[in-house]
């Protein structure tokens, strides 16, 4: 049993997998001696050496290209893209090459890549370093998408992502880095495609992801006081998506709320809302409601950023109002 921060859980999970598979390598900017700008890779180069933990130039296309070329010729790769906003500079590699090559070649190539990246707001970094881009990658066929909310999930889902033979985008939330949790000794391995009911409830279902999970949980506590029993689901992986758990919960509670950090349009919650509004339509007792960041670039000032991203207050108030 060791207590790990979310931040340290990243290196912990990578180390576990690098010990298991001596062919696994990682590359990215400032990840070796410096241990990454979020200190998520501290210590790895000491244990695994600079051939397996490689610093790169500021060349995100070259990073993902090298990862893809290595992966398709037998070397599994973890590639770090420092901030998820920078996925935009290498989106062609991710969306058009890594995601599609297996299908386009009739299954000839296998691309075991994990693209790790720091996602989300709360650091007052402004619109180019704070985005929640889970929908950028969820919408691309051929990518799996994982977004853990706890240190233990970081380790277990990272291990599962690394062992997955398909490309996975692994979103580490900047504002969860300091969160702590005890993790058990020995190998930790979770699986992709399983949401988790993190709080049981009977009146409504709240589906949340990453930083929105602790907020949804806190809101559920407050709602309890108001006599509303909310079931909270940590979606955990967007692709594959555990629709059974979500539909199962809605069939019990008859109401769905999503709490999304991504700006509103075409967010992951829209996809889930559309699935529920189709497949669970007859179970629903009221509107499907999405609580999201407004459809704006994220502002830098503390006060404004806090207004933009769904807060415990906003979640609580919205659920109360819409359940009323």
């Amino acid at each position: 049993m060791a207590e790990l921060t979310y931040r340290n859980a990243v290196a912990y999970g990578i180390a576990q997998e690098m010990r298991r598979d001596p062919s696994l390598v990682m590359l990215g900017e400032d990840i070796a001696g410096a241990g990454g700008v979020f200190k998520t890779t501290v210590g790895l180069v000491d244990e695994f050496g600079p051939d397996r933990i490689r610093d790169t130039p500021i060349s995100e296309q070259a990073i993902l290209g090298a990862a893809m070329g290595a992966a398709m010729t037998g070397i599994p790769v973890i590639a770090e893209i420092m901030f998820s906003d920078f996925i935009a500079v290498c989106f062609d590699l991710l969306a058009n090459e890594i995601a599609k090559s297996r299908y386009m070649t009739g299954g000839q190539v296998t691309i075991p890549i994990v693209v790790r990246t720091a996602n989300g707001g709360g650091s007052r970094f402004g619109a180019q370093h704070s985005q929640s881009v889970e929908n950028w990658v969820m919408m691309i066929p051929g990518l799996k998408v994982v977004a853990p909310s706890t240190p233990l999930d970081v380790v277990g889902l990272l291990a599962a992502s690394i062992r997955d033979p398909d490309p996975v985008v692994f979103l580490e939330h900047k504002s969860l880095m300091a969160d702590k949790q005890d993790v058990p000794d020995g190998e930790i391995l979770d699986k992709l495609g399983a949401a988790r009911v993190v709080r049981e409830g009977t009146d409504c279902t709240i589906a949340a992801l990453a930083l929105m999970v602790p907020r949804a949980l806190e809101a559920a506590d407050r709602l309890e006081d108001q006599g509303i029993s909310a079931e909270v689901i940590d979606v955990r992986t967007l692709v594959p998506l555990d629709t059974q758990t979500i539909l199962g919960s809605v069939s019990k509670t008859s109401r769905l709320f999503t709490v999304e950090e991504n700006p509103r349009l075409c967010g992951w919650g829209a996809e889930i809302a559309s699935i529920v509004a189709d497949e669970a339509f007859w179970d629903l007792d009221g509107p499907v409601v999405r609580i999201t960041t407004p459809h704006i670039p994220l502002p830098a000032a503390e006060a404004l950023e806090d207004m933009a991203i769904p807060s415990v207050d906003r979640i609580t108030e919205t659920v109360t109002k819409r359940m009323g």
Binding site: S59, M72, N96, Y103, L241
Partner: protein, 357 residues
């Protein structure tokens, strides 16, 4: 005939000064290449030529759907490199990749079937002409969006080193590709990591319909950029398979010995349009004519005759190739149209495409 400054003026490029090929270098007769290798390269060039002519005919018969980009006129590049590469080396090519796929030994029938969108296509019909791949032949893919594959070739080269093999990755691309960002990132990374990769720019003087010199800051789009990556600028006659063979031997040898990457500019010309039915009217007729006169295949034919190969041997090769192309055609036409059972396969390594439970 008028010339044009880069900035303004003439936009009907057919009226520009033609850019003429360098004259044939007969000295290349004397490059030390065994005659068997030369005969194989003759055969390969014949195959590439006859295959693509057939593909073009079948396109005119409306059998080839989608698009296709022929490299008629550029066969010597794929041939020279293909002959030097080892079976376990890696090729990365563009949408103009028929020749590079065949030159690694992929089956012409399966390639043609792919152009026809058939189930027996080399990609089961899923990729089409622009994405030809044959992993079993070291042909790691044809990439249809400019630039990306240079960075991917680096990865294969890096992997070779990590796996402790001496495999080399060879990456082909066009002159127009030297102006996109990924080119720069790939060359820099290859250089700093000393990767066993050979970058081959097939400079055919045109991007799609725009002359390369109008949109490129240097005269040799690849070679004049080599120094920006600490590399030597190498230019080769891309219409002479033997000259290509020679630089390929040097560059691949260097890479295999761990001496790092190379950037080679092979000067050549596409005899037809950019893709499919493009009549390529935007090119100065004198330019097209001059390059046709430097067509690699008749030139190579003449060389072999000068080197004492009887005409009859060459006709035999031609006819053998013609037979293979006919067989490939039959194979392709005989393929089934892919059925619904194929639509949802091959997204994931488990064979399927499920995104939910």
């Amino acid at each position: 005939m008028s010339t044009q400054t880069r900035d303004e003026g003439l936009y009907d490029y057919a009226l520009r000064e033609p850019r003429l090929p360098a004259p044939e270098n007969r000295e290349n007769d004397n490059i030390g290449i065994p005659i068997e290798a030369r005969l194989e390269m003759y055969e390969m060039q014949q195959l590439l030529r006859q295959f693509e002519k057939r593909a073009y005919d079948m396109f005119l018969q409306n059998l080839v759907k989608g698009t296709s980009h022929l490299s008629l006129g550029q066969e010597a590049v794929a041939t020279g490199f293909g002959r030097v590469m080892r079976p376990d080396d890696f090729t990365f090519a563009t949408y103009r990749g028929h020749a590079h796929t065949l030159s690694r030994g992929a089956d012409p029938g399966a390639v043609l079937a792919e152009l026809l969108g058939r189930e027996n296509g080399i990609l089961k019909g899923k990729g089409g002409s622009m994405h030809l791949t044959s992993v079993e032949h070291g042909m790691m893919g044809s990439y249809a969006i400019i630039g990306a594959h240079l960075t991917i070739a680096n990865g294969a080269a890096w992997s070779a080193r990590m796996r402790g093999t001496d495999q080399v990755a060879v990456c082909f691309f066009g002159d127009g590709t030297t102006n996109i960002g990924a080119f720069h990132e790939a060359l820099n990374l290859a250089a700093i990591w000393d990767l066993p990769v050979v970058f081959v720019c097939e400079n055919n003087l045109w991007m799609e319909y725009t002359p390369i010199d109008l949109i490129t800051a240097v005269a040799n789009p690849a070679a004049d950029r080599a120094s920006a990556y600490g590399l030597e600028g190498i230019v080769v006659d891309g219409n002479d398979a033997d000259a290509v063979y020679q630089v390929a031997t040097q560059a691949i040898g260097r890479a295999r010995r761990g001496e790092g990457p190379s950037l080679i500019e092979a000067q050549t010309y596409r005899e037809q349009g950019h893709s499919r039915a493009d009549p390529a009217k935007y090119r100065p007729p004198a330019e097209v004519q001059a390059w046709k006169e430097r067509d690699p295949i008749p030139m190579y034919h003449e060389r072999l005759l000068r080197l004492g190969v009887p005409e009859g041997d060459l006709s035999t090769i031609q006819q053998d190739v013609a037979r293979r192309v006919d067989e490939a055609t039959e194979f392709a036409k005989g393929g089934a149209v892919p059925g619904e059972q194929h639509l949802l396969t091959d997204v994931w390594a488990d064979g399927g495409s499920a995104w939910r439970n």
